[in-house]
Each structure stands twice: as C-alpha cells, then as structure tokens.
C-alpha cells in the first residue's frame, strides 16, 4: 500500500463545502472515473459486456444510469464515463480495461476532472447565472456538456431542479468553484 497522501482539487486534505440560502456546493473528490470508447464495429459487444462488468447498461445519448456501485453517463458517440467510489474502486480503469478487452479503449480519467455537487431549491437559479444550459428543463438522470466561465464542463442532473453534479477540468477547480460561489452569492 503506497503512502502518498492525496489532496483535493481545491488543494485541501478534506473536501470543502459552501452553504448559501437554498443552495449547497460541495467538493466531491472521492470518485474514480474512467472513459470507455467502443472500438469500431464492436459497440454491440461493449453493450453486452457492460451489465456483467459494471452492473448497469450503458446509457443512451444524454442519459445517466446508476447502479449499486457504478454509474455510467454518456459523453459522446459510443463513449461513456464510468464513475465509482474512489477508495473502493481506485483501480477502476484497470478493471474496465481488463473486462472490455479489445472491444473498447479505456483511459483513467479520475484526476482529469473535479466534481462539485450543487443541491437545493436555488440550483436552477444559480445555473441561470452561469451557463446557457437549460438546467430548468433537465430531467433526472441526464447529462449535458456546457461552458461555465470558459470551462468545458459536464453537468449531471441527479434530481430535476434540485441536485446536480458539475465536472470541470481539475486544474481549473478553483476557478470553477469561485464562479459557482459568486453566482450563488449574487442570487437575490
């Protein structure tokens, strides 16, 4: 077991949470991520393999599927991101690579992204101050890309109008966090 201590995207040893009226923004560092891209002509194989491997089907365009331990969301044509608890599944990419074999290209994406969860009755109002995403219209278990303060992000809606996860490139975590908090503060 290695002895190197991880830090969160915001640079702390523990995750940061910020509270505002009707809105809570929490840093979520304890998630492992891996991208899965079906190779040419074998998308069917990838779809068939998934349920046994990760316990869920790979979702349709713009959708999120959640199982007991794994969540998968669509990020492109024949491309998905798989997410699981970091400490239990730090070797997620390795597990998926082994499981999908030559049917899919798998990369570790865990630290490519910083995840912030936003929850509360003012989440939609906050998104209205940030990006062109129609957060009001997003249904539960859907995902979309959007540019938030010049950052290419993935936004997952886990509970319509109430709970979302925002993934941004990890190196810009502080900038995104600042943007989220500033927008939250500016709401009347």
């Amino acid at each position: 077991m290695h002895d190197l201590i991880a830090i969160t995207p915001l640079g702390g040893t523990t995750a940061q949470t910020d509270s505002f009226p009707g809105l809570e923004i929490s840093e979520q560092p304890n998630w492992a991520l891996a991208s899965v891209s079906a190779r040419h002509g074998v998308a069917k194989t990838v779809h068939k393999t998934a349920p046994n491997l990760i316990g869920i089907d790979l979702p349709e365009v713009g959708k999120v599927n959640s199982g007991l331990e794994m969540t998968a969301f669509w990020i492109g044509p024949d491309q998905w991101m798989v997410m699981a608890a970091h400490d239990a599944h730090e070797d997620l990419a390795h597990m998926l690579r082994t499981g999908f074999g030559s049917s899919a290209s798998v990369t570790e994406q865990t630290d490519g992204w910083a995840r912030f969860d936003v929850e509360g009755e003012n989440t939609v109002a906050m998104f209205e101050r940030l990006c062109p995403l129609d957060a009001k219209a997003m249904i539960s278990n859907s995902v979309s890309r959007s540019a938030i303060e010049h950052l290419g992000c993935l936004v997952i809606c886990s509970s319509a109008g109430y709970k979302f996860s925002v993934l941004c490139p990890r190196s810009s975590a502080a900038s995104l966090h600042h943007a989220l908090c500033t927008a939250a503060k500016g709401l009347s």
């Binding site: 891209s37 040419h40 030559s102 290209s105 490519g112 810009s172 009347s188």
Partner: protein, 985 residues
C-alpha cells in the same frame, strides 16, 4: 423646497417623501417618481445643456427615448454619465449632476458656441482645423477632446459587480403594455414558458400614462391586476426594469436587468445589473409607439416637450411642467393632452392644430390651421408665437408646450438584422417590414395598431399564433371593453418660416438648416444624411428625430418618404455600461486559471509564477539572499546539470490515443514514422500543417500495441487535440482510433541531471529496473512508486541531461513533489522553473514554440530528413514544394556574442558584418536567447540563410527596437553535450 408643480393623485406615493439633490440643490419627491418627474414637480425645467451649442435644454419625453435630460447619476466611483433622468427611479439620498456645462447649468460659458453657430453647422469639422498643420496635435485636438462628449467618467474603478445570465423560453414578450400583457395572459394560460420583459419598473406601458379605462377599471389598475395574475403562474417569468437591448442571431436576445439601480447601493455580492442572454423559440415585440415632435424655430426651449409626455407626467406622476400650458399638434390624439391637463386642473391656453379642419376635442380654445413659429424664454419657456390661418401672428403665454406630430411605431428591434420598415400612408409612420428577425412577431402600437382594443386583441392573437407555430395550443379569450379610436392625422414635419434654427435631433444639435446644408452639399441619401449631419447618431439613436430629418430630406429631394427610406437601428436599444457586458470576467477573473499539481507546494516555497496561457507555472524558486531572478535561474541550471533538478511539466498536453489503427493514425499525423515504434519506446514526433509548415512537436510513448500517449507543447495542446479529432472524425473516419485528453489526469515531473536515476530509484518500487540497460534513452513504462501507486515513467530529456519524466494521478502530485524533495536532499536536489527549463533547452538547442512559429518548416528546423517519403502524412506533399526548398533557405543554428559580455536579444535580425541594417539585407532572425551560466555568456538560437554552411562566420544581430547591434559568431545550436553522451548515460 416646495413641490410647486405637484398635482393630486397619480401613481406616486405622496404619503412618503424622498430627499434628493440635483446640482447640489436639495429637493423632495415621492416613491414612484423618476428624477425627471420629481424635478418638474419642484419647478425645475432646465435640466441640461446641448452637445454642440450648449443651449439650455429641458426634458423632452417621459421615457428612455429622452435626448436632453442626461445627468451624471451618483458620485465618486459609482458615478454614471449620460443617465436619462426620465428613467432614473427616485430613491432617498439620490444625487445627480447636470452635464456638459461650465461653470453651471444656468450660466454655461460654452454657450458662446451658440453665437458662432454659423461656423459650427453640420460637417464643420471637415472644413476646419486644417491649418496650420502643426496646430492639430498640440492645439486643436486637445481642445476638441475636452469639448467632446457629454458626461464625464469618474476615472475610478467601477466597484459594482455584474452578472451574466441565461434564460430559455417558448415565448419572449418584449414590452408589457396592453398588447404585451394580453399576450402574456394568453401564453401563460396555455402553459407555455413565457418571459415578459419591460424596461419600466411598473408594467402597463401607456396604460399607466393615460386615462383610458379597460373593462370597469382604470388602465393602470387593469395592468397591475394582470401583472399580479401573471406573477402567480410558475411558467411565466416577469422581468421589470429589464430592457431587451437587441435581437441577435439564432433567436437569441440580449436584455439588461437593472437589479440595484433603484437603491442607493447594491447589497454586498449582489450585481448592479445582469446581462441576460435569452434563448427563445418565438418573440412577440410589443414595444408600443413613440411620440414625435414638430420642428419650429427655438422648439428646444426648456418646457417644450412631447405632448404624450406632458400627460404622462400629469396622469402617472401627478406633475405639471407649468401651471399654464398649450398644445401644438396635427392629429386627434394630440388633443388628449389638453383634455387630461384640464382634468388635472391645469390651465390650457389653447390647442394649436395645423389642420384647418381640426376637430374640437378639448374644452379649451382651438386654433385650427395654425403653426407655432417661435418660442420665447431661453432658460425656460415664457410664451409661443404662432401664425394663424389668416396669416396673422399671435403670442400666447405659457411655461410648457406639448408638441406631437404623430406616433412612430417603435420598430427598432425589427431592424436589428437589417430589416427595413415600410411606410404606412394612413398612419403617416413607418411600420415593421416583412423582413423580421427569425421567429419574431409584432403586435399592438409597434405594429401600427394604435387603439387599446386593437392592442389587447392583436396581442392575444399574436401570442396564440406564435405558440401554434411551435406546437402549443392557446385559446384566445375575449378582451375587456376599451377605447378603439381611429387615427386622424395630416402629416406635418416642420414649420417653414423664420430665419432661426428649428431643432430635429436635440441630442446632437442637428437642425432643419443642417439637413438643407447636407442636401446642398449633395449628401442626399439617407445614409449620407445621417453621417454628415450626425442626425440619429447620439445615445438616443434618433428615436425622436430620425423621422423629422428624413421627412425634410424627402421634401428637398422631391422624393416620397418611403422612397427616401430609413437607416438601420442597431443594438443596443439603449446604452449599456461596459461593466455589464463584462459580467464577472474582470481583473483576476477575466479567464480561468489552471493550477499545476505542485502549485500549493511551489507557493509555499515562495516561487515566482508566470502565466503560460491560462496556467500558472513556477518561473523560478528564489532562495534566501537572492535578490535578482538571474541569481535564482543561474543557480537552478547549474545545480540541475551538476546533480539533479525537478520541474513540473504537467502543463504539456497529453493525448491518449488507442484503437487497432492507433499506429496508422499517428503515422498520418506525424511526418516521421510511428507505425514501427516498439512497445515500451518513446519517439520525438513532428507534425506539419497541410502546407508543410511545422505545427507542433512532442514525444509519443507506445505503452501497448494499440495504446499511445502523445505529448504536445503547452500552448498548442488544445489546438492539436482539435486537429486530431478533426482528422479522426472527418479525414479518416474508417480508422479505428479513439482519443481523449489526459493532460489534467496525470501530474508529470521532469527529473533531470546526473543523479536523476539515483533519485528516482529511491521512489520507484524495486520491481522496476531503471538501469541504462533495462531502461535506455527513450524507453517508457507503466510502473508503481512509493509502495504501489500506479505511475508512468518516460526516459526523455528536454534539458539535454540524463533525465526522466514521471507521472502519477494528479491527486498525488503534491505528495510526490514533496517526496522527491525529501528523497533528493542527499543529492542537493533543486526545484527548477520555466526560466531554467528554457535556458537548458536553449543550451541544448531544442526547438520550442519560438522556433515553431508558424512560418518555419521541417527543413528550416534541420529536420528535413524526418519527413518520411515512405508514407503519406499531413503536410508531407506540400513540404516538398519549391518555396520550402530553396538553396539559401533559413537554417536553424546557434549564436554566440563575440564580446562575451554582450547580450544576445531574441527578435534581433541577422545582417552581414558590414551591411546596412535594412530589410533588403536581412539574413534571418534570432528566435530564442538566454544567459547561459554553463558557457558564461549570452547565447541565442534562430534561423540564418544557409546557416548550416556558415558556422564560424561573424555576423551581426541587429534590433532597432532595443538598440541592439552586436557582432555574433554562427555556431551549432547544440551548445551543451552535442554528442548526446549525457542523454544516454
């Protein structure tokens, strides 16, 4: 101070009093007042001075079309110039100053301009300020700059913050007058997502200004009740104080919401204004109509205003501009002002109507077939002179005159995408044309339906039509009973008598005489008329003047008004503060910052940081006692080359390339061969643009048969990724290859120097042999470190020393850097920054961004032989063109100063020793330069014509910008370890 012109009633709360200051004098008003209405209530008619002639001016309108009553609102660093007093909501403690006058509003020394008006007519600056030529810069320009403009800036930073916002809806309704409100009810009840925006703080439009009843209520009550009903609908968003500023492409509208301008100071953290971007399926423009004036001599005296504004002040704000007023008009609706003023107990001296057969509507004297030919009272209207039908003149005493030449449908936004309005003879006005922005409909007075009944009915119908278009069925209810009057108008634009000036554009001081001058000088097209006279070019975009100006030109040219045409209205509808456009993107937040995995640690060390694109990178790590950056950088270079140094190189792009055709794909992207790269090996790759020019370089590691990791330069990471995705999706979609960026996912450090292997051995787990035999130069492997953490190791060197790059998942990057520093203590390990990184790669002669500058080819870089002829790759064909293969072409070489104390400057151009330094003798240029602590002098690298054959030659480096002119020797670019022995140790 008593509000001498306050009336009873209105929609102001006369039970509460607000205190405010204008030009230092204290006044009182009420909630619901605007600054303009409160000033009028206090008997203040003089509110500004005009742009060119500094003529005393009063308020002309009661809305955002106001040209005259422009004030500097608030003070200190929140001072805002050119604010229309007609739209400022009065609050307690408000302060405002008039503009464009010195020393005061009542005595303005610059009014002397008015005496010289003959020399300051339209286009005067095309005929003056030319002689003597020397005077322009020193005399004329400073004077003009001082005199130009209206308001002044505080010159201090804007302390307020502004938000950007994004909204989506099925139907955007612009304007909440009768048409807009009826439309909103229809659409809201149909369940559509509706946004209703109005620039006013109260919904209702003209209903708040008129005495019209709707059903059994006053129009104002109906509007308030309707707004309240709409507010209960969750699918309707009401936005008051929100001006839709423009109709932009793709059905996107811009809107500015004034969140905090009606309070003294915004709450902490709350924006002053929000710039909303509204994505809408359909839009209904219900912007109503604007009253237009009639021009006559001295028609700009304070107290002369639009007739509709006069009754707005009386009905909505319980204010009369004077106790004795008159009305001048050419249509029936103008008489309504007289009726309403009389009802409020104001003396109406007469209604002067240009039409001989004008009907008698108001209960006061009617002077039909007459024209007002002059106005008296420089600082405030005292009386008017008119000429009656029989040619006689009469003087009528009055302190205010309401003028109306008819209503102009407010078509502004229908023109934002180059649509032109069409002339309506019956209304004597322009109405929306056929070419509307996509998805826009128009209803109400904006469409030319001036009656309230028509506005309600057409507003509702248009909403239903708009929704039907997008598959939402709306039922159109019957509307309450209300007035349905006809339009009776005889066009009349200006009074043709008097030698004096009749004012058309009051903000830019453009007169009827100016139009005549433009015509005389042959600037007759409406576009030339506008630019030559500046008619319609002020902050009000000619809302109350364009029509008059083009009507005069039409008459002069003998064309009809529709033949003369209109110019194009452009966004923004009303002025927008630059801060509002900026939103939160100001100062440090202008763009995101990317932090490296070792940033926190580097900051603890007191590193100096440099911006590299959006990244912050440690530039050098000063130690105690070091006062100049050269001390730090020289030390870092020497220490690394002597023992070992560590540098964070996470910022270089990392692209994961996988798939059964990954090697084939890379073979087409890179000009050199990659198909046969062995697993466990890394190779330098050069990629060309289609035209054979070098685009980017890096190293690509083959971690598996169908798995590569490519690095790019920091600056081009995004560009190269885009390029590769384009190639993958569009050029060769049949190749089985998948890409994804992993720049962020891995912390990567260069560990360089003779002791780099020794240091790494202390952290790499013992199962992995990194001896020179097991892990030679350019090897790569997945490994583990520190007891099992997954990592990647690459034996590559930018510095020219024995070196490696080690990567771990980013969350462990901070810990790894700290571990390397501790483990490296015994080797005197130093952290090094981008400066030392740059010095070392220049010493080694490695090309980087400065050399791959978009004009250099592989041949220029000395890599001509890398471009494989055995396979096709992007750029390989055109790299063989004649232009890129000239015998004396630029070649990559190094330069050493002859005088070892001289400084080699990047950007310097190369001349022969005795040549005159000019473009004709230019032989190349220096791309990168640095002080080399290893060589003890400044060195440079760059491109010299036929440089490969000229080593040893003495030439000159010349840079007129920096005053450089030194002798240099042409040498190999590889100053350090040219045989590469250290690399392969």
């Amino acid at each position: 101070m008593k509000q001498i012109n306050r009336l009873a009633g209105g929609q102001v709360d006369q039970t509460k009093t607000l205190n405010f200051h204008f030009d230092g004098a204290a006044y009182r008003g009420h909630p619901g007042d605007t600054l303009a209405s409160a000033l009028l209530a206090n008997g203040v008619r003089l509110m500004g001075r005009s742009f060119k002639y500094h003529r005393p001016r009063g308020v002309l309108s009661a809305g955002s079309e106001e040209p005259n009553a422009l004030v500097e609102l608030r003070g200190g660093n929140r001072q805002e110039p050119n604010t229309r007093a007609t739209t400022v909501e009065l609050f307690d403690g408000l302060t405002a100053q008039s503009q464009n006058r010195w020393p005061s509003l009542t005595f303005d020394a610059m009014e002397i301009n008015d005496k010289f008006s003959n020399f300051l007519t339209a286009g005067f600056y095309y005929k003056t300020f030319m002689w003597p030529a020397a005077f322009w810069e020193k005399v004329y320009e400073p004077i003009i700059r001082k005199a130009a403009g209206l308001g002044s800036l505080s010159q201090q930073d804007d302390p307020d913050c502004y938000d950007k916002g994004f909204l989506h809806c099925d139907l955007l309704i612009i304007g909440a007058g009768p048409a807009g409100l009826a439309a909103a009810l229809t659409a809201g009840n149909a369940g559509a997502q509706v946004i209703v925006a109005d620039e006013d703080f109260a919904f209702g439009g003209r209903l708040n200004a008129e005495t019209i009843t709707v059903g059994d209520q006053s129009g104002a009550d109906w509007a308030a009740q309707t707004a309240a009903e709409l507010a209960t609908m969750p699918n309707v968003r009401l936005m008051s104080r929100t001006t839709v500023i423009g109709a932009f492409d793709h059905g996107i509208y811009g809107a500015v919401e004034r969140v905090s301008d009606h309070v003294a100071v915004p709450d902490t953290g709350k924006p002053r204004q929000i710039l909303w971007r509204i994505y809408t399926q359909r839009t209904l423009l219900c912007t109503g109509a604007l009253d237009r004036p009639i021009a006559f001599e001295n028609n700009d005296r304070p107290g002369i205003m639009l007739a509709s504004a006069m009754r707005s002040y009386a009905n909505r704000w319980a204010v009369t501009p004077d106790q004795q007023v008159a009305v001048f008009t050419n249509h029936d609706d103008g008489h309504r002002t007289a009726t309403d003023m009389l009802a409020k107990g104001v003396n109406v001296a007469a209604v002067i109507d240009t039409r001989e057969n004008a009907p008698r509507i108001a209960d006061c004297e009617l002077i039909a077939g007459a024209q007002v030919i002059d106005a008296q009272g420089r600082l405030g209207l005292k009386g008017i002179r008119l000429r009656t039908q029989d040619g006689r003149e009469r003087v009528i005493r009055c302190g205010a005159l309401g003028v109306s030449g008819g209503w102009n449908p407010n078509v502004h936004m229908t023109c934002h995408q180059r649509g032109r309005p069409v002339w309506n003879e019956r209304l004597a006005a322009f109405c929306p044309g056929a070419d509307l922005p996509r998805g826009m409909l128009v209803a109400g007075a904006a469409q030319g339906d001036f009656s309230t009944a028509a506005a309600l009915a057409k507003g509702a119908a248009a909403a239903a039509a708009a929704l039907s278009d997008i598959g939402i069925i709306a039922s159109v209810p019957s509307q309450p009973e209300t007035e349905d009057g006809d339009v009776n108008i005889t066009p009349f634009w200006y009074v043709k008598s008097g030698s004096g000036r009749a004012w058309l554009d009051q903000q830019n001081d453009v007169t009827v005489k100016d139009i005549k001058l433009a015509h005389q000088e042959n600037f007759r097209s409406v576009e030339h008329l506008k630019r030559y006279t500046t008619l319609g070019m002020a902050t009000d975009q000619g809302k109350t003047s364009n029509m008059g100006g083009l009507a005069v030109m039409a008459e002069l040219t003998g064309k009809s008004i529709p033949e003369t045409g209109t110019t194009i209205f452009r966004p923004p509808y009303t002025p927008v503060a630059i801060g509002t456009f900026a939103g939160r993107s100001t100062g440090a937040d202008f763009r995101p910052t990317r932090l490296t995995p070792s940033h926190k640690w580097a900051a603890e060390q007191g590193a100096a940081f440099v911006e590299v694109g959006m990244w912050l990178r440690a530039q050098w790590f000063p130690q105690a006692g070091e006062t100049h950056w050269r001390q730090s950088v020289d030390r870092e270079v020497l220490a690394t080359r002597k023992s070992v140094g560590v540098c964070d190189v996470t910022t270089l792009g990392k692209i994961d390339v996988q798939g059964s055709d990954a090697a084939t794909f890379l073979n087409k992207i890179y000009c050199n061969g990659f198909a046969k790269l062995a697993v466990g090996k890394t190779r330098y790759g050069l990629m060309l643009r289609e035209d054979g020019i070098a685009m980017d370089d890096g190293t690509t590691a083959r971690l598996g048969e169908d798995h590569f990791v490519m690095t790019t330069t920091t600056a081009n990471a995004v560009g190269v990724y885009r390029h590769m995705e384009f190639a993958r999706q569009c050029l060769w979609p049949d190749l089985d290859v998948q890409l994804i960026s992993t720049t962020e996912a891995w912390a990567q450090y260069a560990v360089a120097g003779p002791n780099s292997r020794n240091l790494l051995r202390k952290i790499i787990d013992p199962a992995f042999d990194i001896s020179n035999e097991a892990f030679p130069f350019m090897a790569c492997s997945e490994i583990t470190v520190c007891g099992g953490l997954r990592a990647r190791l690459f034996r590559i060197s930018f510095s020219g020393e024995l070196a490696f790059e080690i990567a771990v998942p980013t969350r462990y990057g901070d810990a790894l850097m700290r571990r390397l520093m501790v483990a490296g203590e015994e080797f005197d390990v130093v952290p090094y920054g981008t400066e030392a990184l740059g010095v070392m790669r220049i010493e080694k002669g490695h090309a980087a961004g400065n050399e791959l500058n978009g004009t250099t080819s592989a041949q220029n870089l000395g890599m001509g032989r890398m471009v494989s002829k055995k396979k096709d790759s992007i750029g390989s064909t055109l790299s063989e063109r004649e232009g890129l293969n000239q015998p004396d072409m630029l070649m990559f070489v190094g330069f050493k100063p002859v005088d070892s104390n001289a400084k080699v400057t990047a950007g310097a151009h190369l001349m022969a020793k005795d040549a005159v330094a000019n473009a004709a003798n230019d032989q190349g240029y220096i791309t990168s330069a640095a002080y080399s602590p290893c060589l003890g002098s400044s060195i440079g690298i760059g491109f010299l014509k036929n440089g490969g054959d000229r080593k040893g030659e003495i030439i000159r480096a010349v840079s007129p910008l920096t005053g450089t002119d030194i002798q240099i020797e042409v040498v190999s670019a590889h100053f350090i370890d040219p045989e590469g022995e250290r690399l392969r140790a």
